[in-house]
């Protein structure tokens, strides 16, 4: 059987399939359906220094092949995460990634510092949440501020730091390079594309937050393009996500340059998606005589 394991910044993942932040809680709910220890990793719900209420409902609307969400970083705060969830998650035998958001640079740094003294395997810095005014997206749209926040957080953190990029930018490669030169250990993308839907009867946006983030299969072509651009631009590992729903999607994303992938919205459609992707990847490798999953990363050849 082919080798599915890989390292990202010295952290070992037993396979390249990670569940995406915000769609999988801390893993407890889905552990009812299958042992989440089968997953390569779990990226936890975005966590901030202090508890946040999140946005008023409705927080979700379905769109063609996708959804818009405006959860807005509802979370019980970093201390609660460490006390209540991290230990349980770690004991399941999968990589625990803390997804961190904040309103100020200092918020990010403090949370990173706090996490340094825990068992968490990795920090995913969410500088791309479009759903709260102070969700960090302003940090994620200019190269200089991306470089700066990366540097600052790296200084205060003993854990590997993965920077999660927003697709709502003109030049994703430039932003990725800024993260790399700020010292990022890895890059993950894409977060959601900002969108809006309006109820034509009430003449009001369907989401109470007015706008929300688009995810799901609809965004897959944009995600593949951006992952490819970023993988060309940097030499640190790239974790790809955005619309992945099948093992074929995962292979496509890895060929574009992702060394691992995350699964978000597809969990809602079919809760077994991550497991089906793991099984599908294994079979794909075996059927094609590929010995190691790493062999396909970035192997798409351009015309």
């Amino acid at each position: 059987m082919a080798n599915m394991g890989l390292f990202i910044a010295d952290v070992f993942f037993k396979n390249p399939v990670i569940t995406a932040s915000g769609t999988f809680g801390f893993g407890r709910e889905y552990n009812e359906l299958y042992p989440i220890g089968k997953l390569g990793g779990v990226s936890c719900k975005g966590t901030t220094l202090l508890e946040r209420m999140g946005n008023p409902p409705p927080r979700i609307v379905e769109t063609p092949s996708g959804i818009l969400n405006s959860v807005g970083l509802q979370n019980p705060g970093i201390e609660h995460f460490i006390k209540e969830d991290l230990g349980w998650l770690k004991s399941q035998g999968t990589v625990a990634i803390a997804n961190v958001a904040g309103s100020t640079l200092e918020d990010y740094c403090k949370v990173a510092e706090i996490l340094s003294d825990t068992d968490v395997d990795m920090i995913e810095l969410n500088i791309s949440c479009p759903n709260v005014k102070e969700g960090g997206v302003s940090f994620g749209t200019s190269a200089s501020s991306v470089e700066n926040i990366t540097e600052q957080v790296k200084m205060r953190s003993s854990k590997p730091v993965m920077i999660k990029l927003t697709p709502n930018v003109t030049d994703i490669a430039e932003i990725a390079k800024a993260a790399e030169s700020g010292g990022a250990d890895a890059i993950s993308l894409i977060n959601t594309l900002t969108g809006m839907r309006i109820d034509i009867n009430t003449r009001r946006p369907i989401l109470k937050n007015n706008t929300g983030g688009l995810s799901g299969r609809a965004v897959f072509p944009v995600a593949v393009r951006m992952v490819w651009q970023v993988a060309q631009a940097v030499s640190i590992p790239v974790v790809g996500m955005g619309g992945i729903a099948t093992w074929q999607d995962a292979v496509e994303m890895m060929l574009a340059g992702a060394c691992a992938i995350q699964v978000g919205t597809a969990n809602f459609t079919d809760a077994y998606t991550p497991i089906k992707i793991i099984d599908g990847l294994e079979k794909y490798l075996d059927d094609n005589g590929i010995k190691d999953i790493k062999e396909i990363v970035g192997k798409a050849e351009m015309w």
Binding site: E32, P57, R59
Partner: protein, 255 residues
């Protein structure tokens, strides 16, 4: 919170009126562990999001659950086109249902498509139940016979008076309360109705439980999408309909 995601078999399909269908679904695990007031989350064709539908009856003997749903949009439209013997991908049982332990006498108050889940309550309540069922008109009236056979007394209200009495369920509620002592009210229906029922219950100090609706993502408590505001001594916060609900103690709900 035990639940499964499984293919159930549609073993009986009935049309209750021009837009409402009743499906009898065979699924061992869900029927085994479901309790009154829980729901299932149903994959509707190529739709990204599953559609939450309450469990209307639980038939543990035949490993079946019954759901009753109204065609509202594309998802329920798709569902209504399924045929006998089709496999339907459902997740459940989800959420916290109604408390059905012996508790004096219960009053069930349902409005429109909120009526079906209360049938599972009527069937599993360990005490006597009365029911008030509200509909728009005679055409939209559903499940009256089923309730009549399970409840002591059933009052049907229609807005236009074409069936039962003319008026709102709250009109009937006020009347009922004049002559009855209820220990608990269980209600499901449109939000304004639930709010009105809760207010009346609160005023006279009866425990009242309401089943809420909110748009959902995961349906299992992982995505925090289905927020509804609740209050406790610690103040207000967002609870989640799929996991903390759909049934809430009315006095915790921020309307």
């Amino acid at each position: 919170m035990a639940y499964v995601q499984r293919e159930a078999i549609l073993i009986k399909k009935e049309k209750l009126n021009s837009t409402v269908f009743r499906f009898t679904l065979k699924e061992d695990v869900i029927s085994e562990i479901a309790t009154a007031g829980q729901f299932v989350n149903i994959k509707c064709g190529e739709k990204v999001l599953r559609r939450p539908i309450s469990i209307c009856q639980i038939d543990k003997k035949h490993n079946c659950i019954v759901i009753v749903f109204e065609v509202r949009g594309e998802g329920t439209q798709w569902l209504s086109q399924c045929n006998q013997h089709d496999k339907i991908d459902i997740m459940g049982p989800l959420g916290n249902g109604f408390n059905t332990e012996k508790q004096g006498k219960a009053l069930l108050i349902g409005g429109g498509i909120g009526v079906p889940p209360l049938l599972s309550v009527a069937e599993s309540m360990e005490c006597d139940c009365d029911a008030i069922l509200g509909f728009k008109d005679i055409e939209t009236t559903i499940l009256v016979e089923e309730f009549s056979s399970k409840c002591k007394d059933v009052v049907v209200m229609t807005q236009d008076g074409t069936y039962g009495e003319k008026g709102l369920v709250t009109d009937a509620l006020v009347k009922k309360l004049e002559t009855n002592d209820y220990s608990v009210i269980c209600s499901c229906g449109p939000t304004p109705m639930l709010e009105a029922v809760s207010q009346i219950a609160q005023k006279i100090g009866i425990e009242c439980y309401v089943s809420l609706e909110e748009r959902m993502g995961c349906g299992v408590g992982a995505c925090l999408v289905c927020a509804c505001k609740t209050k406790s001594k610690d103040g207000e916060k967002y609870s989640h309909v799929c996991k903390d609900g759909p049934v809430f103690n009315a006095k915790e709900v921020v309307w």
